[in-house]
């Protein structure tokens, strides 16, 4: 692969998000206002929103979730940013990771110095069955959906192939959920910011309070094996293997490298960006890996001039527990077949050698699909600037990475971030 370079450097100087959760009284525009105001507060020096020149909004399907298309100018409007150009980017669950990339390209093109990148999704208006149908629209409606595949079903099929090839057991997946909830419990913006042991204790306490039969789980592993507490969704994936249905929005402020210090003394430079697409899942040579993730990360590493080993923190796309395991292999953090062992051995824990999803990941923080990619950048921005409070990874973090997948890997986009001072 040629070592592609941008014509100009780009840095993140502001990053904010709404709380992630289920908000019956808020539309996606209300959530975006929250994210936008949160981003403004995150900018260290003076910042006038009127200086924003262009807007990229990642959104999967406000069409199906809110009967609202043409969302980008609406988001520009509610932030008071009309008549600036506003572009919606849709690449399924990778929509706002790709929006971030388009914001980078727009600045690198020379046309703009300051870009707003947003991500939005308002999912909880619909009943779960319709959300299932809507997410399936990210797959191939003509050839995959008629087979009865659901979105969890695709990742479950990947898990089956991975288990067959590498000997992983379904129990190994639980390590990912347990870790991500441990992280998410320290993230005030997380939708399910509670550890799984605390979740279990909450259910025991609730049963006692209501005078119902008190469950007799011996520990949280026992809890996760209980088919009533943790029902099967698509074997081998159970409820706690799946990210939730979430409302949320994110806003990032990107500027050209030359002017970054007008906004902060600690810009986070984006030194690598890679994106790739792929064919339908059934058409792929290897069902135990996401080829688009391997290609996107290779491109990002080459542009950045770094290797997987150099990355200190990473947010990876854990829409399902198996997705995180495969991602950590595709990104080159672990050899193929070693990802599940790394999760078991706590290598990916916050205090491990390769902390993954310190935000709680999509699993605990929530997965408002079109906002999730930009949301990863918020966590990296905070971690690399030492602003992640209780969940802060110890030590200096010169390099971070985000990995955002659309569908079952039809799209993958990877960014490498650098802190220079």
């Amino acid at each position: 692969m040629s070592k592609k370079k941008l014509n100009r450097g780009v840095a993140v100087v502001g990053a904010g998000m709404s709380k992630f959760g289920a908000f019956s009284d808020k539309s996606s525009r209300d959530l975006f206002v929250e994210a936008f105001q949160s981003m403004r507060k995150s900018v260290d020096k003076e910042f006038n929103p009127a200086d924003i020149e262009t807007i990229y909004i990642g959104n999967f399907s406000s069409d199906l979730f809110e009967a609202q298309s043409h969302t980008a100018p609406i988001m520009a409007d509610v932030a008071g940013l009309a008549p600036r150009p506003a572009v919606r980017i849709e690449d399924a669950c990778a929509s706002s990771g790709v929006a971030l990339r388009q914001g980078i390209l727009a600045i690198a093109s020379g046309l703009y110095d300051i870009a707003l990148v947003g991500g939005i999704e308002k999912m909880t208006n619909l009943p779960t069955a319709e959300v299932t149908d809507t997410l399936a629209a990210a797959a191939d409606t003509l050839f995959e959906v008629p087979a009865g595949f659901t979105f969890p079903g695709f990742y479950a099929a990947i898990a089956s192939a991975y288990m067959h090839k590498y000997g992983m057991q379904p129990e190994h997946l639980m390590n990912v959920a347990i870790k991500n909830h441990e992280n998410g419990a320290l993230n005030p913006n997380a939708q399910f910011g509670v550890t799984i042991p605390d979740w279990m204790q909450g259910r025991i306490a609730s049963a006692k309070k209501k005078g119902k039969p008190v469950p007799t789980w011996s520990d949280h592993w026992d809890y996760l094996h209980d088919a009533r507490a943790n029902p099967m969704i698509a074997w081998p994936l159970r409820l706690f293997d799946c990210s939730p249905i979430t409302d949320g929005a994110v806003a990032l402020l990107l500027v050209s490298e030359e002017i970054a210090n007008q906004f902060t003394d600690h810009p986070i430079h984006i030194i690598g960006s890679g994106q790739a697409s792929d064919v339908a899942l059934h058409d792929r040579d290897d069902l135990t890996s996401i080829a688009a993730a391997r290609l996107a990360s290779q491109e990002a590493y080459a542009m950045a001039g770094v290797t997987a080993d150099d990355i200190r923190v990473a947010e990876v796309h854990d829409c399902f527990t198996i997705a995180e395991i495969v991602a950590t292999e595709d990104l080159g953090f672990f050899a193929p077949g070693d990802g599940y062992k790394a999760a078991e051995d706590q290598v990916t824990a916050r205090d491990g050698a390769k902390p993954i999803n310190t935000s709680g990941g999509l699993k605990s923080k929530g997965h408002p699909v079109g906002a999730s990619g930009a949301g990863q950048a918020v966590e990296i921005f905070k971690q690399m600037r030492g602003l992640a409070d209780e969940r802060q990874v110890a030590g200096d973090i010169p390099l971070g990475l985000s990995h955002n997948v659309g569908g079952t890997g039809g799209t993958c986009v990877v960014h490498v971030y650098e802190r220079r001072n």
């Binding site: 779960t128 069955a129 319709e130 299932t132 149908d133 399936a136 191939d140 003509l142 050839f143 995959e144 959906v145 008629p146 087979a147 009865g148 595949f149 659901t150 969890p152 079903g153 479950a156 099929a157 990947i158 898990a159 089956s160 192939a161 067959h164 029902p231 099967m232 969704i233 698509a234 074997w235 081998p236 994936l237 339908a280 899942l281 059934h282 058409d283 792929r284 069902l287």
Partner: protein, 145 residues
């Protein structure tokens, strides 16, 4: 290679043609003579040589299971067929002897005991009819042999 090339009228390489063949109980892919490669679903353009002079090819439906899941939380279309929490079903990726893969529902396996299901299980294509009247449509499935 057990595929048979079609020499009759050439239908467009579309999903509609594929579905029309399914209605006729035929599993049809497309074939690039340049690359001697089969494609399922049928492609109109070969992704290797970019030729668009492909041919229809009938596949014999012999296959094996490449990946699978047993689905308990079903989409609306499958709920309407009676599937769901109490009646899971198997969806899988199937590798045909003709060197192509496709997604399909898998019949003849115990969906309630997915841990017993083996990757590599031999399968045979089967055509399922669903819906009534104008809504009637043939779906591709595979059955464990």
């Amino acid at each position: 290679m057990t595929a048979t090339k079609s020499t009759t009228t050439k239908r467009a390489f579309t999903a509609a043609s594929f579905d029309q063949y399914l209605n006729e109980k035929k599993l049809m892919g497309s074939h690039c003579a340049n690359c001697d490669a089969n494609f399922l679903p049928p492609r109109a353009i070969c992704p290797d040589c970019y030729d668009d002079q492909l041919e229809w090819v009938e596949l014999d439906g012999k296959a094996k299971l490449a990946a699978f899941t047993s689905i308990y939380i079903a989409p609306t279309a499958m709920i309407n067929e009676g599937y769901g929490r109490d009646k899971p079903y198997v969806a899988g990726v199937v590798e045909l002897d003709d060197g192509v893969k496709i997604s399909a529902q898998i019949l003849g396996l115990d969906a309630a005991n997915p841990e017993e299901i083996k990757i590599g299980t031999p399968l045979q294509a089967e055509f399922i009819e669903r819906g009534e009247g104008d809504e009637k449509r043939t779906f591709l499935a595979f059955r464990a042999k």
